[in-house]
């Protein structure tokens, strides 16, 4: 197994922060922790090439560094690419993780890196990489490299990867079904028992942490604002012209309401399987309140109702998909010079 290894300037033996601008250097041998990596990988593997680069250079020239690493890794006929371990070093972690993603997708060979949970490289790429949990202490280098070596062998042989705790990688946030000994009822009661007694318990799903989305500045003057309606309640014209799925919709539609004082049930249907849709089907204004907004427009409470409403189905929609839909919708509304949006959900 031929291994290409990436290190920053510190672990590459060049020096500390004062050498963070160092340009990439290529060595056809193991360097620094690479020597130990070679040992723990065993007889059938060797570090054939090492790329060392300063943290600042990497941050500022990621594109050039990526191109070089891809070229060198390909040229070295690598079977596997290893970066780090980076422990808590943030710029190093971001570069290592980014290079791993690039090598994996461009060269289609297994990649391994290691870093502390807190490293920003983890947040960026945990979903696509197996990142060995290195902890914070570089003194654990041998132990961490052993875990990374085990991971490298496992990935190279194409074996199924077990759970994060067993294999020592940082959870990628991917769900996998398993049959367990205890019924859900037994798990519920045992967990409650521990929780009530103040003992430690492990939730089967850690609480998600989502970044705060800051509220935008208030609309300065609503009487001059162009207002649009967006709904994830699945209201579509009869026949569902954009084939918006009734759950986990992957697309959205914008539908003309210019000149309409309200919406008629005969003209619309609902593509959504998650709520009792009868009341909306009777009177779509209950979900997409064109009638009320027209009144507000006439009395100049709002400047203007945007000529289209936007609709999708939010039901069980994966977050990544929702983010994409949101970005696309926002871009279109921005282009249409919409100042404010009313979101209606179900």
């Amino acid at each position: 197994m031929r291994v290409v290894h990436y290190l920053n300037q510190f672990f590459g033996g060049i020096g500390g922060e004062e050498h963070a601008d160092t340009e990439p250097q290529v060595h056809d041998e193991p360097v620094g922790p690479g020597r130990l990596l070679g040992q723990v990988l065993g007889e059938n593997a060797q570090v054939v090439r090492t790329i060392v680069c300063g943290d600042n250079y990497a941050t500022e020239n990621m594109e050039a560094l990526t191109a070089l690493v891809l070229e060198q890794t390909k040229d070295a006929q690598a079977d596997i690419f290893v970066a780090g371990p980076c422990f808590e070093a943030g710029r190093y972690g971001v570069a290592a993780a980014g290079l791993c993603v690039a090598v994996s997708s461009e060269l289609d060979i297994p990649v391994v890196t290691g870093m502390a949970q807190e490293n920003p490289g983890v947040d960026l790429h945990r979903q696509t990489l197996y990142i060995v949990d290195s902890g914070k202490a570089a003194s654990a280098m041998r132990e961490v490299l052993t875990k990374m070596s085990d991971m490298a062998h496992k990935l190279a042989s194409g074996q199924d990867m077990g759970a994060p705790a067993e294999e020592g990688y940082i959870a990628r946030g991917i769900l996998k079904d398993t049959f367990v000994e205890q019924t859900a009822a037994q798990r519920l009661v045992a967990m409650l028992d521990a929780k009530v007694k103040g003992e430690e318990f492990e939730s089967e799903l850690p609480a998600p942490s989502f970044p705060e989305i800051p509220a935008p500045a208030p609309v300065a003057d609503m009487s001059k604002a162009r207002v649009a309606i967006i709904t994830d309640g699945g209201l579509v014209p009869k026949g569902n012209p954009d084939n918006i799925s009734a759950w986990a919709a992957t697309n959205w539609g914008s539908y003309d309401i210019a000149g309409k004082d309200g919406l008629q049930g005969d003209d619309y249907e609902v593509s959504h399987r998650g709520y009792d849709t009868r009341y909306v089907e009777q009177d779509p204004d209950r979900l997409v309140p064109v009638d009320v907004l027209r009144e507000l427009e006439e009395s100049n409470v709002i400047g203007e109702l945007h000529s289209q409403f936007i609709s999708t189905s939010g039901l069980v929609n994966p977050i990544a998909n929702s983010r994409r839909l949101g970005r696309e919708i926002a871009a279109q509304l921005k282009e249409s010079e919409v100042d404010a949006v009313i979101l209606t959900s179900t």
Binding site: L175, T178, L188, F201, A207, F210, D276, I319
Partner: protein
């Protein structure tokens, strides 16, 4: 309240000339049962068949599965509000044919998202139902019977058959007895033990129940606020599933995994089971706020619970009701655990939860979305119509969430989605 289940362990099930229990052999006279079921003029005919444990047989679309049970005279009504007049259940003696299930096929339902009972193979092994002897009934409705009436007829046929079968055991000495006794929230002499309660949804108003849909003591739950039930009432016929219940069958109300586990710990003097609440998932925000608040208030001030287990019904939206109730409980100082359904269609943990309350931090995550089986053609098929049976019997992919008992919402599931 004290309930004695008189358990008759059944080893075989067959059709014969008279319905009787001979040792552990149950024989069913299909003609007598047919006449009983067809007293309901909404039905024109009924197929009655038996299926053995582990048999190469596929059954669908399943309307409901029940355990045959009958109340002793003077012990209260059978399925009050559906079969017998309204009256309290959960007391006296109820005879149980353990090892047998009444499985009702809904001939009017489509296969898409329909529930299937797979009796063999790896999919079968994952289901708690395949070790049972099934009496499968497939009622066919009379002409011009509207859909909800057809479903109401299925419901009546299901409880009739359950009671009819077990009635043959009423005069027979059971193999064993299971006693369920709890004095409720005012229980004395159990000081120091944590007080646990259960809050379970019995319907979701994502689909408003039909006017003749009988769920809780015969009520369709429209306008229902949280209802206090003794744990025994769940076990003894107060609650059945709705017309189209995903991940729930009446069998696991009668054998409610959460209530049985709480009772086990209660009987072992580890906890005190103080009571339960039946709730439903709302269709609008005011209804949700009101119901969640009332359920938490009940748990705090009427049950004086230290800990509460919550389960949901239906699809995605009921998570909002369950988690808000849990949050309200936590705010009142009651610790909670919740069981959620698998809602992550992209298998990302970030998409898995439909709520985000930091205090609702003890979650049991029943998986199911990436468990499926490619099954061969079935040796035997019981489907509603010839056409559907043909489609059902062909080789197909069975998804865990559609196989009865695998990704159950009632607590029987051994599936767990792990975060990798």
């Amino acid at each position: 309240m004290r309930l004695t289940l008189a358990i008759h362990q059944i080893g075989s099930l067959s059709l014969g000339a008279a319905t009787l229990l001979d040792g552990n052999k149950l024989v069913v006279d299909p003609e007598e049962l047919r006449l009983l079921i067809l007293e309901d003029t909404r039905l024109r005919s009924v197929d009655i068949e038996t299926v053995s444990p582990g048999e190469d047989c596929r059954i669908g679309v399943v309307f409901d599965i029940l355990e045959p049970r009958a109340k002793e005279s003077g012990s209260g009504p059978n399925f009050p509000g559906i079969l017998d007049p309204i009256g309290v259940v959960g007391q006296g003696v109820t005879h149980v044919l353990r090892g047998v299930a009444v499985t009702v096929v809904d001939g009017g339902a489509g296969l898409e998202n329909g529930k299937i009972l797979e009796m063999t193979g790896p999919a079968g092994e994952a289901s708690p139902y395949t070790s049972l002897h099934h009496l499968v009934i497939t009622p066919h409705s009379a002409e011009n019977v509207v859909r909800h009436s057809e479903q109401a007829a299925l419901r009546l046929a299901s409880v009739k058959t359950s009671v009819y079968l077990a009635q043959c055991a009423l005069e027979i000495t059971p193999h064993s007895a299971e006693i369920f006794e709890s004095d409720g929230p005012v229980v004395k002499g159990r000081g120091g033990l944590p007080r646990f309660a259960y809050i379970g949804q019995v319907h979701s108003r994502q689909r408003v129940a039909e006017i003749d849909e009988k769920i809780l003591y015969g009520d369709n739950t429209a306008g229902m606020v949280p209802v206090s039930l003794h744990p025994n009432e769940w076990l003894d016929g107060a609650v059945v599933t709705c017309n189209r219940a995903m991940g729930a069958e009446t069998y696991f109300y009668q054998n409610h995994p959460v209530i049985l586990e709480l009772y086990r710990r209660h009987q072992d003097d580890e906890i005190t089971l103080v009571g339960t609440l039946a709730t439903m998932a709302a269709s609008d925000n005011d209804e949700r706020d009101r119901n969640c608040m009332l359920a938490a208030e009940h748990a705090k001030w009427n049950l004086a619970a230290d800990g509460v287990i919550l389960t949901k019904y239906g699809g995605g939206a009921p998570h909002a009701d369950m988690s808000l109730t849990a949050r309200r409980c936590e705010e009142l100082g009651i610790r909670t655990t919740v069981q959620v359904s698998d809602m992550s269609w992209d298998r990302r943990a970030e998409s898995a939860l439909l709520f985000n309350y930091p205090v609702v931090d003890a979650i049991v995550y029943v998986g199911g979305r990436d468990t499926d089986w490619d099954v061969p053609a079935a040796g035997r098929v019981i489907g509603g119509s010839g056409e559907l049976a043909e489609e059902l019997g062909a080789p197909r992919r069975l998804i865990a969430t559609n196989v009865c008992g695998v990704s159950s919402q009632q607590g029987i599931s051994r599936l767990r989605a792990m975060v990798h």
